[in-house]
Symmetry: C2
Subunit: 247 residues, 2 copies
Amino acid sequence: MRAVIAHTASALLIGNELLSGKVHESNLLELARTLRAIGVSLRRVVMVPDEPELIGREVRDQSQTFDVVFTSGGVGPTHDDVTIESIARAFGVPANIDPTMEALLRNAYGERTTDGHLRMALVPEGAVLATTPEILWPTPVYRNIWILPGVPEIFRMKLAVVRAWVRGPEGFVSKAVFTKMDEADLKPLLDDVVRDHPEVDVGSYPKWFDPTYKTKITFDSRSGERVEAAVSSFLAKLPQGEPQRVE
Amino acid sequence: MRAVIAHTASALLIGNELLSGKVHESNLLELARTLRAIGVSLRRVVMVPDEPELIGREVRDQSQTFDVVFTSGGVGPTHDDVTIESIARAFGVPANIDPTMEALLRNAYGERTTDGHLRMALVPEGAVLATTPEILWPTPVYRNIWILPGVPEIFRMKLAVVRAWVRGPEGFVSKAVFTKMDEADLKPLLDDVVRDHPEVDVGSYPKWFDPTYKTKITFDSRSGERVEAAVSSFLAKLPQGEPQRVE
């Protein structure tokens, strides 16, 4: 495993239970925050059911479009765990039992080891295994696809492996300005800032029922100087009594 | 507006703030549960940034593939609210100010009405407006695309409009069996049930750190009889002392 420098990322969240509303998807927020912290831009997230063709088509598209791809879910031992085989089939390679992972499983389960357990050692042929000194159970990485589990407790642990091996070219800088103006009144001011600072990502988020502000304006860039310039030019346009605060 | 019978649905969640991890996406779970309750199968969810080309490509694909599509976000008055124009452009029609919505806005804002406010009356040409007696602010529906706001409080209100106008061909029936067996041991039993009951969707979900059970097995179908048959055949295969409970 070698360290990966990635500008862009995508995620594929797999599982019928997410789409039926039975389970509240909770891995994405953790992944998004982790990528943000290491300076990688998450550009697309897709949620699909446990169906090999849908998984395969999406993972192939994402692998071609983004620097790094993260899948979540479908890696357990049962019939509805089809992620590994789907990825392998999408790239025309077999899924094989990895001997390192098989040894770890046999060590854990001893004579109780079943074919079901060994399914958890399947990887697409050609995958490398990512570990850290603290997290010894390997994470399979096939091409640029990081294959992560869906169980939230384990997914969160695996993000430590991602942080150890993946990072962006430089970090992000963010500032937020809170005002009591409404979005429609802010629009002409914001249009000027957006035009004059094309490399700063400016967002506008109305908040309902908050007594301290009405609209939050965010400024994001990989350059701290550019963020400061955009914030200053925006603040200079605000009427007296604004902003409520800057963070 | 006429009532819509839909088998399948998809969702497009729009917003940079979702992908950067700044905001926890919270509309999807409510939408998924609503669709489930009215018997519509949610098949795909995609999250994209506030970029017209990405929004347009995805919404066109989804509109062709699924019976009904729901978008969330990007319908306010500011520069980063590009959903309406993106949908219009994707289908080669203009976005126009709707006179009904313009009248509502002018009524609310009076002489304070700005061009910014009026942007909230834009709809793709050919859209119809969905309302209920309780929710008078219209929801634009262009072709099979329901254009919903991103602000969670308003999104939730709009789901009442969806429930009033959209329903599936018949409802879903679900049962869940909780066991203390692990997934690898359950696998051969489940494989038999899945083979014998191909029209029941069988899911297996391990739970970590719960003292009352280890794996939850779910059975879903549009037919209650089929669910009962699959559950009975599964229960008959379980060893003594199982299941922990059935819900």
